[in-house]
């Protein structure tokens, strides 16, 4: 079936959604990390002007939506990853359903708060 097997949701539970979202956010974070490190390690300008000009773009209002989505990826991947690690150590397996809901709510609340802070910082 291949990778399309990750995107089968019909008749599946919320765990499949969590799995797929974990995979997708992981891929996004990996691409972001590679781009981030490639950019930083290729800076030759010792004055820091190039870096500052790039940062000025990334903290602009136009760029805010990408930042918010990136934070969503980071927060969900981290919080959901912690839930998975717990279960992988055999902890709280019997409470997997309530834990999935609790951890998802935590991820959404943290993301919304972070989005609000970022929105405030760019003068919203």
């Amino acid at each position: 079936m291949g990778v399309s097997g990750w995107f089968k949701f019909k008749g599946r539970s919320l765990f499949s959604w969590a799995f797929t979202f974990q995979r997708l956010t992981g891929v996004v974070l990996l691409i972001y990390l590679l781009a981030h490190l490639t950019y930083l390690s290729s800076l030759l300008d010792k004055t820091g002007a190039t870096y500052e000009s790039m940062i000025a773009i990334t903290v602009s209002r136009q760029f805010l939506v990408f930042d918010i989505l990136l934070v969503l990826c980071g927060v969900f991947h981290g919080v959901n990853g912690f839930r998975i690690i717990l279960h992988e150590f055999g902890i709280a397996y019997e409470y997997r359903k309530p834990l999935l809901v609790i951890f998802t709510v935590i991820a959404v609340v943290v993301w919304l708060y972070a989005s609000y802070v970022m929105y405030s910082l760019v003068g919203g």
């Binding site: 079936m1 291949g2 990778v3 399309s4 097997g5 990750w6 089968k8 019909k10 008749g11 599946r12 539970s13 765990f15 499949s16 969590a18 799995f19 797929t20 974990q22 995979r23 998975i84 279960h87 992988e88 150590f89 055999g90 397996y93 997997r96």
Partner: protein
């Protein structure tokens, strides 16, 4: 009347075929399939045996979810029932899927008691406390229907992956106080196609018709395998 929409496969092409079945209270999907076979389409192929949820032969996708046809009541499924073969398995004909690989994987984990003192001439009784039995009892209930394997995203991307059912069988024997073959099974479980391939989607536990909790067994086997590797690295 309930409309049955069945995904058929003739060896070359896959297509949908619909049938009207006079459903009555207590009728299972398996009975409906027999009704279709006897009254409409004698070439319809499906696998079934015990008709009582014990043999695991009749697992198929019913309304998008893997279930045992013999245990699924038609009247609980609505006016239209969609029946398809299991995912992650090669389809042979209609609803029949290839299970050779699945059973090979099961065999590969040595699903039997391994003892150093095997003596068939003078067999001895191996005692066990109820607590020791409870350590693995739930995992003995697996009927090898393949429902767990069919929803596993790791199995979807890697044919060689041992899968939840085989690893549940491996853990069932590793957790058995009478068994002495843990080391052999940990080596198999720690192979590239073993426990580390599980990404804990946990869908296997959701669809298991016997509530065996394969995802839990895989994690427990993973923990035991990790400790076994750690012990061997430290020379304990």
């Amino acid at each position: 009347m309930v409309r049955f929409k069945i995904r058929r496969y003739d060896g070359e092409k896959s297509y949908w075929q619909s049938f009207e079945v006079p459903a009555k209270k207590g009728m299972t999907v398996l009975e409906a399939l027999y009704y279709i076979k006897e009254n409409y389409e004698s070439s319809l192929a499906f696998r079934a045996s015990c008709r009582m949820g014990i043999c695991g032969s009749c697992a198929m996708k019913i309304n998008d979810r893997p279930r045992l046809a013999c245990e699924t009541q038609v009247l609980t499924l609505g006016d239209t029932v969609k029946v398809e073969p299991l995912d992650n398995f090669k389809v042979i004909k209609d609803l029949i899927t290839e299970f050779d690989g699945f059973f090979e994987k099961h065999k590969a984990v040595k699903p039997y008691l391994i003892r150093k003192d095997d003596n068939y001439a003078e067999p001895k009784e191996l005692l066990q406390t109820p607590e020791e039995l409870n350590e693995y009892y739930i995992f003995t209930l697996c009927i090898k229907c393949g429902a767990c394997y069919s929803v596993c995203p790791a199995a979807a991307t890697l044919d060689e992956y041992l899968g939840p059912a085989a690893m549940t069988a491996a853990y069932r024997f590793c957790a058995d106080s009478r068994d002495e073959g843990q080391k052999e099974r940990y080596e198999i479980a720690s192979s590239p196609n073993g426990v580390w391939r599980c990404h804990l989607a946990m869908e296997c536990s959701e669809v298991c018709p016997k509530n065996v909790e394969p995802a839990k067994a895989v994690q427990l086997l993973r923990r035991k395998t990790a400790f076994s590797i750690l012990k061997s690295l430290l020379g304990w």
